[in-house]
């Protein structure tokens, strides 16, 4: 086992496609972790049980044994992190387990939006940063210009950056040498009481929860009794180890090391990312800093399109939550949609990832309701109510005042986008803006914003107005008074409960118009006229009609048209299965979904 002087903990960060996975592959191969025969491209990515849309939502680690040019043996722990603001807390804990990062820049593309966003994240975590210039084998590579960009735009030493081709394996040693020589060894004290940072946890069907840890102080061995300092629960350690080609048990993990712990923890949700593990009998005085109790902030109800799929949905959610501690769910019902679940998410992306997994891995066809935040309602009778489901919104007359969660958003961007971003934040009821200039040409804009305004397409809009160069992070700062109303959508006079939403009074009309228009465009015409309305209480604030169709016949149907026409009918039948009946109006799933889509695309 390597001592601290011979250990390095690092992560690789990069703009998408700049070669993070490929570089990781080369490092793993160069260090001979995996035999050539067992090696597969995108090695780390393939370790993830769940990789959605190229977004990893879990961290991953691997230990690379390396004999450096100085003749000494090192143990390099590579920690791979998820990459989205919804998981920024998880990323921050994973980065907190490192002393440094490799920042990969594609020599043919140069510095791009996420290069910057990732750089800022690393800076916030006080990490040493080694820039690496990749893809020098490309004809279009401009190594010198990239060096200059790294120096000028990132404020790092571009001249010292190793120039490599991860694809061809050129100059990989230089990267490993930079890890050894430029990143500091971890600190820590083996003799102090145990403090181990949990930076992730994954579910293993045979062993229960695999807890990913970085030992700050002390030593952790199998057989010891441990306690989660925030969670409070106590367990007996069954096994500790490091990550080689798979999990490799070791007798102990010591200060500075990265590894895993098996302790018979049933569900991932029994552990909390950021919590500190200590010994039960000789506990540390206080936990490591930076722990946050991550609570879901976005809520939406999920219904199966086919009501008889409810049981399958229940089982699928149960399985997903084994490995996803931040997903919460409880039973919900809707007149229009039947039985479903009210689910809580870390953010919109998290919601989308869960939705995609349910649909793809479990073959479910789903309808999701408008995402909502959790409101606090102070009632006339003195009670306080927390409501995130429009179905439980009480009689407005009984409400004295309402509060909604606010966040402090921190947006980094090149200076030229400041006007557009400022406007976007103001449009979203942003207040108390602050501006700082962390480096020349870059601005950090800080705004207080209602969370509800952010979960509704804010991130997409931000990406649009900054052409992808804006990075976004936020923290919830508390509740503030708000003017809340419940917006209902009616189809032929019948309330579609699944389309109701809680919104700020000022947003009610635009939202209603949006919903009404989207429904008008996506509800198929029938033999009768369909009225679509948006209403607050009994006041109609938006309306539209789907006119009746009076002719529905293809002019020509000859021998060459039969197959196509029959297939069209069969497809229509499949589509019908995805329809919900409100009154006598069939509403396609896509109508529900389209109401959720923002207007950016039209």
């Amino acid at each position: 086992m390597a001592d601290r002087e011979h250990t390095r903990n690092f992560s690789i960060i990069a703009h998408i496609d700049h070669g993070k996975s490929t570089l990781a592959d080369r490092l793993i191969q160069t260090c001979g972790v995996v035999g050539e025969r067992d090696f597969k491209d995108q090695y780390l990515d393939n370790l993830y049980l769940e990789r959605e849309r190229g977004i990893t939502i879990k961290s991953q680690a691997i230990t690379l044994p390396y004999r450096a040019a100085d003749g000494q043996e090192y143990e390099l722990n590579l920690i791979d992190t998820p990459g989205h603001v919804d998981f920024s807390y998880e990323v921050s804990r994973a980065l907190d387990s490192c002393e440094g990062v490799l920042l990969v820049v594609d020599a043919s593309q140069g510095v791009e939006a996420q290069t910057l966003a990732n750089l800022y994240l690393a800076l916030e975590n006080d990490l040493e940063i080694v820039p690496v210039i990749n893809k020098i084998d490309l004809v279009s590579a401009d190594v010198e210009a990239t060096r200059a960009q790294i120096t000028d735009d990132l404020g790092l030493d571009g001249d010292a950056a190793p120039a490599i081709s991860a694809k061809d394996g050129t100059n990989i040693e230089a990267v490993l040498e930079a890890v050894v020589n430029q990143l500091p060894p971890p600190g820590g004290d083996d003799q102090a009481p145990l403090k181990a940072l949990i930076f992730d946890a994954q579910y293993d069907p045979y062993r229960g929860t695999v807890i990913f840890v970085r030992i700050r102080d002390g030593v952790l061995r199998a057989g010891q009794s441990i306690r989660f300092m925030h969670g409070g629960a106590q367990y007996k350690v069954e096994e500790v180890g490091v990550f080689g080609a798979g999990r490799q048990p070791t007798p102990a993990l010591v200060a500075g090391q990265v590894g895993y712990v098996l302790a018979g923890v049933k569900r991932v949700s029994d552990t909390r990312v950021g919590d500190t593990i200590t010994h039960a009998d000789k506990p540390a005085a206080e936990p490591l800093p930076g722990f946050r109790d991550v609570k879901p902030v976005v809520f939406s109800s999920i219904y199966p399109v086919a009501t008889d799929d409810y049981q399958e949905l229940a089982e699928a959610l149960d399985k997903l939550s084994l490995n996803d501690a931040s997903l919460t769910y409880q039973k919900d019902t809707s007149q229009a949609l039947g039985f479903g679940f009210r689910c809580g998410f870390l953010g919109l992306l998290h919601l989308e990832v869960v939705q995609e997994r349910l649909e793809r891995e479990f073959g479910l066809s789903l309808i999701l309701t408008v995402p909502s935040v959790r409101y606090k309602l102070h009632l006339v009778d003195g009670q306080t109510l927390e409501v995130e489901n429009p179905a439980y919104y009480p009689d407005p007359a009984s409400i004295e005042r309402a509060e909604e969660p606010f966040i402090r958003a921190s947006i980094m961007m090149p200076e030229r986008y400041i006007g557009a971003v400022m406007q976007l934040c103001l449009d979203r009821r942003g207040t108390n803006s602050r501006m700082t200039y962390p480096s020349p040409g870059r601005v950090e804009l800080s705004f207080e914003l209602p969370l509800a305004e952010v979960i509704y397409d804010f991130y997409d809009k931000l990406k649009t107005v900054t052409q992808g160069y804006g990075s976004f992070d936020y923290e919830v700062i508390g509740y503030r008074d708000t003017d809340l109303v419940k917006l209902d959508i009616l189809v032929n006079g019948e309330k579609v409960d699944a389309l109701s939403s809680l919104v700020h009074r000022d947003s009610a009309r635009p939202r209603a118009l949006h919903a009404v228009k989207k429904l008008k465009d996506s509800i198929p015409r029938q033999q009768f006229k369909i009225a679509i309305q948006g209403a607050i209480g009994s006041t109609i604030i938006a309306r539209s009609n789907v006119s009746a169709f009076r002719k529905d016949v293809t002019a020509k149907c000859y021998g060459g048209d039969v197959s196509r026409k029959r297939k069209l009918l069969e497809k229509q039948k499949a589509g019908k299965k995805r329809m919900k009946l409100v009154g006598n109006v069939p509403i396609p799933q896509k109508a529900f979904l389209s109401v959720l889509q923002s207007d950016t695309d039209d």
Partner: protein, 387 residues
């Protein structure tokens, strides 16, 4: 399967002098060299299909396109002669040719009639010079009139005119005038089509249904109502959504198609049907010929229909015809009484006033014909089993 009508033969000749901006057919601009190769290829293909009918004689032959009439009469006559040689033609067999005014002459029509073509379908489309130009047609109203006269003189006593309505800038009065001019030529048969916007056509990209300059839905319905009255008054009885004929002059080839009949096919993009198997040939002339040369059937796809799919087709097609869906034909395929199997769908059609049940048929009403697509979807809903 003695009751099923047919068999027929469909030959697709995919060339046109120029392409019309509304056209959604498998067609392409005429290239003489390729056309010669295709004629040779078609002959090869027909010969290869010789055994496919197991000794049954052809009842109908249909030359469609494209613009088959632009081919030399000798080429068309040669193909027809070959087909008759291979399979024989039942007495009184129907032999149709699609033709465009402007590609015909007195001599050519005589030759075609002499070769055995006995039904001519003329793509008149409109008699209004402005509309003809907008449709990209190269012929004039007078060309159409002349073609009709010459066809009559050549001995064609079974003539169809194709007319389109719902055209850009057309109002109900203009549509009525167009139809009246067509009827004045006293055709035995008339196909009256509402303009269809193929999404991949220039028209499809340029216009959208019910919006200016296309007539509104109200106007289209008014045109249709007026047309139905005018056609009936002229003695042309409706027998399908878009097809009208004097008694005894219905197109037998198409009628057979709509009753689930068999038809062989040849030519790029042609579709065939034999006893529940449907197939189509590659739509491009080059690949079609190449495949033939390599000794393969130039299939684009082949599908073997389940009994449920075959019945669905019978409903889908039958609900477009005034004869309706023949219940016995459905029962023969399904082995069960369609009145039970399709009970919910049939009941719904009756409630909506779209169809009524006779002793032998499910017959669409006039309203039902106007809603035929929605009507067949209703029957699909009560399909037995899962597809």
């Amino acid at each position: 399967m003695g009751r099923r009508p047919g068999p027929g033969l469909y030959i697709h000749l995919p060339f046109c002098p120029s392409l019309c901006p509304y056209c959604d057919f498998a067609t392409q601009k005429y290239r003489p060299g390729q056309a010669r190769e295709l004629i040779a290829g078609l002959a090869v293909h027909l010969r290869r299909l010789a055994g496919a009918l197991r000794g049954r004689r052809l009842e109908t032959i249909y030359f469609g396109g494209g613009t088959p009439s632009m081919w030399p009469a000798a080429a068309l006559a040669g193909l027809l002669e070959l087909a008759v040689d291979l399979w024989g033609l039942a007495p009184g067999g129907e032999v149709s040719l699609e033709a465009n005014p402007g590609t015909l002459s007195r001599g050519k029509l005589k030759a075609l009639r002499a070769a055995g073509f006995n039904r001519l379908s003329l793509g008149a489309q409109s008699f209004d010079p402005g509309r003809l130009a907008a449709l990209g047609r190269r012929h004039s109203a007078d060309d159409t009139r002349r073609a009709v006269d010459q066809a009559r003189a050549a001995g064609f006593d079974n003539l169809n005119l194709d007319i389109i309505y719902g055209l850009p800038g057309q109002d109900p009065a203009a549509a009525a005038r167009d139809l009246a001019r067509a009827l004045a030529l006293e055709p035995e048969h008339l196909s009256l089509y509402e303009l269809t916007l193929g999404p991949e056509t220039p028209f499809g990209r340029r216009y959208s249904q019910g919006r200016e300059p296309l007539p509104s839905e109200d106007q289209v319905l008014a045109m249709e109502d007026a047309a139905l009255a005018a056609l009936a008054a002229a003695g042309l009885e409706r027998y399908e959504v878009s097809n009208f004929a004097r008694p005894g002059f219905q197109c037998r080839h198409n009628q057979s198609t709509w009753r689930g009949g068999d038809y062989l096919a040849a030519g790029p993009g042609a579709h065939g049907h034999l006893d529940g198997r449907r197939w189509a040939y590659l739509p491009q002339v080059g690949p079609y010929l190449a495949s033939l040369t390599q000794g393969r059937e130039p299939y684009q796809f082949v599908e073997d229909l389940t009994p449920q799919q075959r019945c669905l087709e019978l409903f889908m097609l039958g609900l477009r015809t005034t004869a309706g869906v023949e219940l016995a034909a459905v029962e023969e395929i399904l082995g069960r009484d369609p009145r039970q199997v399709y009970a919910p769908g049939i009941r719904r059609l009756q409630e909506l006033g779209w169809a009524r049940l006779t002793a032998t048929h499910l017959v669409p009403t006039t309203l039902g014909l106007r809603m035929a697509d929605a009507a067949s979807a209703q029957c699909l809903g009560s399909h037995i089993g899962r597809t």
